[in-house]
Amino acid sequence: MSELIRVGISDYAKAKAPNILVTFALGSCVGICLFDGATKTGGLSHIMLPDSTQAARNETNRMKFADTALVDIVRDLKGMGAARLTAKIAGGAQMFSTPGIGNLGNIGERNVKAVKAALASLKIPIVAEDTGKNYGRTVYFDLSTGVMKVQSIGKTTVEY
């Protein structure tokens, strides 16, 4: 029996086939699916911000930031026997069309950049990407196949 495991905002989960990981309604946040095909082991991370060095000094949730989350997850997945990881990423939208609302500018774009940089430094190739634009995305990650399914309102579901 496969289990559907929910990943919240600033959260992550790891699992093996036949389980499915899901994270709902990514806006400017980014979902990162990491997968090892040989062991059918993977993780789904829902990061919220690019850079942990800008956090409040008592911040403890490493899963909130692209730079810290991916390091931890890759370590965990390697511990589960995943040797060769690939990544599929989704999210990083700009939900409100006016640029520069608040202080962060286009945070979605910056999140995507930070995720790419973090993956590059961990030497993990990105094999699929559905990022940017201006709508929310729900991501299902099936560990039997490594397929990332992206659902949005009023759009065709896409499988990567």
Binding site: I9, A25, G27, S28, M48, N103, Y135, G136, T138, I153
Partner: protein
């Protein structure tokens, strides 16, 4: 010295609750004037909650929702977001905009009416901060988007994510003889603003 919402004392949280209560009262009065009707409020539920609970409280992260976002600035800085149920948004704009109701989504005119309602609600809440603190605050024009509730809510959450995992969450309901409007209000204040508010009320740390 406050560094995030988790460090607020019970008394300070009560102040935020009171801001929410006054805001909802102001909002009902203003909506009543706009709709030319007697608008009542249900007792608003005000809570400090974490992101993921807030996502669930808006009816589930994937529910199609109308979001109105405003920023406020001046002596107090932050953001306010209103989430309206799609049906409620259609019903209330039917009162304001005379046109057919064949469209699936919301027409340009109706979106514009939603913006105006967002403006009124935003002013109502910002005025509640101004009323109890005497601070001078201005608000931005409202921005509107229709999408999954969770994706909309993530915008202010991300903006203030660097200062903690909790948000001020107000669940309010308005009703009159002919319609009902449920809305979630999420108020965010910068840490400095929280401090200023508390200091003004003699509750500074």
């Amino acid at each position: 010295m406050i560094t995030n919402y988790e460090e607020l004392s019970d008394m300070q949280i009560d102040v935020l609750r009171e801001i929410g209560n006054i805001g909802a009262g102001n909002a009902a009065t203003s909506l009543g004037m706009l709709l030319n009707d007697n608008v009542n409020i249900k007792l608003p539920e005000v809570s400090i909650t974490d992101f993921n609970t807030a996502m669930d409280a808006v009816g589930g992260p994937e529910v199609m929702t109308v979001g109105v976002l405003l920023t406020y600035h001046g002596e107090a800085n932050g953001m306010i977001m209103f989430l309206l149920d799609m049906e409620d948004a259609k019903n209330i704009t039917d009162i304001l905009v005379c046109e057919g109701n064949e469209e699936e989504g919301l027409s340009e005119m109706k979106l514009s009416a939603i913006k105006e309602i967002g403006n009124i609600l935003g002013s109502a809440y910002v005025n509640s901060i101004a009323q109890i603190t005497g601070l001078n605050i201005e608000i931005s024009v409202p921005y509107v988007a229709i999408d999954m509730a969770g994706a909309l809510l993530s915008v202010p959450i991300v903006e203030f994510g660097a200062i903690g995992d909790k948000v001020l969450f107000i669940n309010e309901g308005f009703y009159s003889s002919c319609y009902e409007l449920a809305s979630e209000v999420i108020m965010f204040a910068e840490v400095e603003t929280l401090e200023t508010i508390m200091e003004r009320l003699g509750l500074g740390g």
